[in-house]
């Protein structure tokens, strides 16, 4: 794969690799289009879904036009090639996130399904046949057991645990969020106790941008023998993540947020756990032996991939991971850090804009949520859209978090490797224009004095 020569004219710091921004943008055909009567597209919604480079689009197309077949079924050449492409993608994705072996990567529809897979497998453990799965007993949950989450979770890492608790009689507990938008771990030992069976939390908040101290939570969970589930949706696309080094038992992320196709997500699970866990969805491909009255299960990951899986999507995600690896996640993270810093400074300087998230760059990713005093987030989004600036508005599937701060909705700008400092300026100018439209613009320079 070619990413092209660096044509970026920004001054190079000695030793610091920078992203070749012009070349990168040329890899993303959608960025050339205009919106709303000829406005240049300023896409600041990669936290919701990212755009795809030509290499990803081509990889999918190439697979479909040359090797399309049902994987792991049939002995013909196409099936062999399709299986190789599918398993090859699995191996590259495993290496990209530091899974200990490719078999620890389970393909799902998206991160939501990956988290549900764990939650349903745990409740299915209650009904597991001890003859088929003697190891399943350790995953059983019941009254007296506790599941711990946080108040900053996306609904995808919240509702499945509520539902698991409802089904099993276990109790749901959570860590709150401090006034400065960090996890409140003051009562760590009261929240995570010997009753805790699962600790599920996000690596990086999709609203606040806060990056959570994974090692602290993992250490507390391990001390009491609880399983850890990391929602890595907003970290894996934006920073180097080594799941084995983090020490979590499970991690979930979505392909469409990391330059890959929609319709593919990943659950990474420690193999010795996956091996003992009952299946979530059952049917073809996940079996070892089937009789009229009973079934034994295939080894992971097949046990958790029932039915003919999504194939071109897996291949596309493999190409996305190649693209990111070629650039280097450190360079990607540094670039987003720079954009985030610019956005925080320039939005704050406008006056009348409140950032909902840490105002400094320590342990902070590139999701910048804010409210504009006197203008509802929906109206801000509409005015920004009219300028070609595409952001997300609403509660971003984190309603309890918004309630915690007494806000119905926020505007969220989120950045990726293809965004530029000029686009931050476009965002800031559009917010200013919006303030003027609704007659709430503070006098220039008012923010500093206020």
């Amino acid at each position: 794969m070619m990413i092209g020569e660096a044509t970026d004219t920004a001054p190079e710091q000695p030793g610091a690799a920078r992203l070749p921004l012009d070349a990168i943008r040329a890899d993303f055909p959608i960025l050339e289009r205009t919106v709303r009567d000829g406005k240049a597209l300023v896409y600041l919604d990669s936290g919701a879904t990212s755009q795809r480079p030509v290499t990803v689009i081509d990889a999918e197309q190439e697979f479909i036009t040359t090797a399309n077949a049902a994987v792991h079924r049939g002995a013909h050449q196409l099936s062999e090639e399709a299986t190789d492409a599918y398993e090859g993608a699995r191996a590259r994705i495993a290496a990209f996130v530091g899974a200990s072996r490719p078999e620890e990567v389970v393909f799902t529809k998206n991160a939501t399904e990956a988290i549900n897979l764990v939650a349903y497998s745990l409740s299915n453990a209650t009904f597991a046949d001890p003859a088929v799965q003697p190891g399943a007993a350790r995953f059983r949950l019941g009254p007296g057991d506790e599941v711990v989450i946080t108040e900053m979770e996306h609904h995808a890492n919240l509702v499945p645990w509520q539902e698991l608790c409802r089904r099993t009689g276990a109790t749901l507990k959570w860590f709150g969020v401090t006034d400065d938008f960090r996890l409140d771990l003051a009562d760590l030992d009261e929240v995570i106790t010997p009753r805790t069976k699962v600790v599920a939390f996000t690596h990086q908040s999709n609203v606040l941008g806060t990056v959570n101290p994974v090692h602290v939570l993992v250490a507390a969970a391990q001390k009491v023998g609880a399983l850890t589930v990391l929602d890595a949706c907003q970290s894996v696309p934006h920073q180097a993540v080594d799941i084995a080094a983090l020490g979590v038992d499970f991690a979930a992320f979505s392909g469409h947020k990391m330059l890959g196709p929609s319709g593919i997500g990943v659950l990474v699970g420690r193999y010795e756990l996956l091996e003992q866990m009952p299946p979530f969805i059952t049917g073809g491909s996940m079996i070892s032996q089937v009789f009229m009255d009973r079934t034994t299960y295939a080894a992971p990951p097949a046990r958790f991939e029932a039915g003919v899986p999504m194939t071109s999507q897996a291949v596309g995600l493999g190409a996305a991971v190649d693209y990111l690896s070629d650039l280097g996640m450190k360079v990607v993270a540094d670039h987003e850090h720079e954009l985030t810093g610019l956005a925080l400074d320039k939005l704050s300087a406008l006056g009348g804009v409140r950032i909902v998230g840490p105002s400094d760059l320590t342990d902070r990713g590139g999701a910048v949520s804010f409210v504009v005093d006197g203008v509802h987030a929906h109206d801000v989004g509409q005015l920004l859209d009219d300028e070609g600036v595409e952001v997300r508005v609403g509660h971003h599937c984190a309603w309890p978090l918004h309630r915690r701060f007494g806000i119905a909705a926020t505007v969220r700008a989120s950045f990726y490797l293809y965004n530029t400092p000029d686009e931050i300026d476009a965002l800031v100018a559009a917010v200013r224009k919006c303030q003027e439209f609704f007659g709430v613009a503070p006098a220039v320079g008012a923010a500093r004095g206020a």
Partner: protein, 160 residues
Amino acid sequence: MQMEQLYQEIILDHYRTPHHAGLRDGDAEVHHVNPTCGDEVTLRVRLEGTGPDAVVGDVSYDAVGCSISQASTSVLTDLVIGKPLPEAFTVLGEFNTMVTSRGAVTGDEDVLGDGIAFAGVAKYPARVKCALLGWMAFKDATAQISDRQDSAHTQTGAQR
């Protein structure tokens, strides 16, 4: 800029100074939310009279939301308070048709009054739910009152 067409002065006026706001006595209260953005309205309806002769006595509400949802609820109250219920439903039908028409139906000013200012919303599918939030709450609340009246009616009928 098309924004002036979407956010017409009438809409901004209703947003800044909503009419009939606040909660007063009603025969039914409903709470509607827009689950995609978290906008909420608590709305009460008081009817005078029953059945086809019912007149909308009052519509009162407490709402958090964007300018479109706030203003359209305000316009709703102007349009339906004091109207016979069947007429109020004609207005509701006309408003619904207009905002869901993707711009094909401009709306009849004689029926919709200030409501025609929301014609621009139809071009932005993501905002249609905002414009309809209060209206759907009104529909739901009146349906609850009618249902209650109907079942009270059947019960008295059965006792006879």
